[in-house]
């Protein structure tokens, strides 16, 4: 079992993490962050692998991975 955390206020919504997550474990939040845009969030029920692909691709280093 693994999970990730996202620094939602630094997230720019580029969606690269979503593109590369093998488990579809991320989605776009419908609430705005402080930047006034929609960050991604982790699906709490997701079957996260802790593979870190999302973190590897995040240009804003918003993601931390736990396993």
């Amino acid at each position: 079992m693994a999970k990730i955390t996202i620094d939602r206020n630094r997230c720019k919504g580029c969606l690269l993490c979503i593109r590369f997550c093998p488990k579809g474990a991320l989605l776009v939040d419908k609430d705005l962050n402080v930047r006034g845009l929609r960050p991604v969030k982790f699906k709490n029920d997701a079957d996260c692998l802790g593979c870190m692909l999302c973190a590897l691709m995040c240009p804003d280093c918003c993601i931390e991975v736990f396993k």
Partner: protein, 188 residues
């Protein structure tokens, strides 16, 4: 008469275009007009703004320290430019994207322009809705001239966009046209 307007929002919200349409319309009325964009590294990170001055006299600085009106389309712009609106100035705000408080000594028109645009079928026309709303309250140029500009500047292959832009403009006008302050208008 001189009107100094700051228009601000996110990249992709059509901020520059909003300002240009206003300026073009003023030009067609043979007014003095200046339009000044934010430029360079300022536009990274997704913010955008421009400044429009419309006047009956020659215009000095195209840069605005204190604005008569402020149109803000997202939260960071609201935070950034709020202090530059003059006391009792006009604020037109996009409540779809801004959690606003009311501690502003101004006339305020908060409407969910993004939602309105989405309902019209294209999120990109939120800017025209805001423009309509602004112009209805501050008739610095004639609506028909704005409509003409919208028609004229649309690129040939995008003529289909004219209609929806005009509808958004009308929707914006209608918000104020209702002449009641219920929905979004407040005096703070």
């Amino acid at each position: 008469m001189t009107e100094k307007i700051i228009i601000a929002g996110a990249g992709g919200q059509g901020i520059m275009l909003l300002g240009k349409i206003l300026a073009e319309a003023a030009m067609r009325e043979n007014r003095f007009v200046t339009w000044l964009p934010a430029y360079g590294a300022e536009v990274r990170g997704g913010t955008a703004y421009c400044m429009v001055i419309i006047s009956d006299e020659e215009i000095g600085s195209a840069s605005i320290s204190i604005a008569d009106s402020l149109i803000v389309m997202n939260a960071p712009s609201y935070a950034r430019f709020k202090p530059r609106l003059k006391t009792r100035g006009l604020l037109v705000g996009n409540s779809s994207l801004v959690k606003h408080n009311l501690a502003v000594q101004s006339q305020v028109l908060w409407y969910p322009f993004t939602d309105i645009a989405m309902k019209l079928g294209n999120v990109k026309v939120a800017n025209m809705a805001a423009l309509g709303c602004f112009i209805a309250r501050r008739p610095v140029v004639e609506v028909k001239n704005i409509a003409r500009v919208i028609e004229e500047i649309a690129p040939a292959h995008k003529k289909d966009l004219i209609e929806i832009n005009k509808r958004a403009l009308a929707a914006g006008i209608a918000l104020v046209g209702k002449k009641n302050k219920k929905s979004g208008e407040k005096n703070g």
